[in-house]
Amino acid sequence: MQRILLAILVYLMTSQIVAINCYSVEPDEFLQNPKKELRARNISKNVRCLVCQNQSIDESSAPLAKDLRILIRKKIKQGNSDEEIYDFLTERYGDFILLNPPFKISTLFLWILPFVFLAVGIFVIFLHNNKSKKLDYNK
């Protein structure tokens, strides 16, 4: 009985590991040159699947994701640079297709606000500390 339980446990644990490493890239999509394939994978991880909008096309099994993966590999084979491929995609689908938004005037707030909040937070804590110190002395 214990052995069966152990077996089930091991199965559950390992199947989890497999699931974590599971991508939707199908074997027939792979490029033969491993360096180029790696480039394709890296680009795919940065490209949003527009059908299921919080997945990258590397993870998504939507047909459009597959089409884009194949297209990216075709472009790599044709000798396009990563930059050219990203440009090609944003010209058609906008910056939204990039999971990493570019630093532009329209995205300035997006990038800078966290630092502003951090500064405000530090300032507030600093102010608070000072105040409580003063209170302590008054006692």
Partner: protein, 177 residues
């Protein structure tokens, strides 16, 4: 002064809540994306035709009149619902409808058009979604309005329905102003 500081986060919290609530109740589809092709020339491409043994060359065949570019497929149920309204639109004067048969089986598409009627002046073939990607298509059906200068003016994601037909016709007329 101290009271003010205490009350600010609470006010801020409710303001943010109000914004979220507003976004929740207005009629919008959060997964709908604006097209980056708006106010740009139609992309250049070549495509085979479904019903004729000819090649369609863009942008050469655009211009002169308002043109709708409708991406459809026989496997797409909303496309079937939309078909009725496309036929209605095909009766409008000075309006041409180009269909793009997206990732579909040509035989089925021909049958489909024979059965339901053909509102398209040309039906282009897009077996591997290359045209779809050039137009930034991410779900079927999608309809683009191209004005008589060959400039894309509007994109509708999803079908033309009874509900949005009137507004869509207005959009079609607007692009020539």
């Amino acid at each position: 002064m101290k009271k003010n500081i205490l009350i600010t986060p609470i006010i801020l919290f409710f303001l943010i809540l109000l914004v979220f609530f507003y976004l929740l109740i207005i009629d919008r589809n959060p997964s709908e994306l604006p097209s980056v092709l708006i106010n740009k020339k139609v992309p250049a491409f070549e495509a085979k035709l479904l019903l004729e043994n000819k090649i369609f060359v863009s942008p050469g065949e655009f211009g002169n009149e308002t043109t709708l570019v409708n991406f459809f497929a026989t496997w797409c149920k909303p496309c079937l619902d939309e078909h009725l309204y496309l036929k209605k639109l095909s009766n409008e004067k000075g309006l041409k409808i180009i269909g793009v048969n997206y990732k579909d089986d040509s035989k089925r598409a021909i049958k489909w058009l024979k059965k339901l009627g053909n509102p398209y002046s040309n039906v282009l073939l897009d077996p591997n979604a290359r045209l779809g990607i050039d137009w930034g298509v991410y779900g079927l059906p999608e309809t683009f309005i191209v004005n008589s200068n060959g400039v894309i003016k509007y994109r509708l994601v999803g079908p033309i329905t009874k509900k949005n037909y009137g507004a869509f016709v207005l959009k079609v007329k607007e692009v020539e102003k």
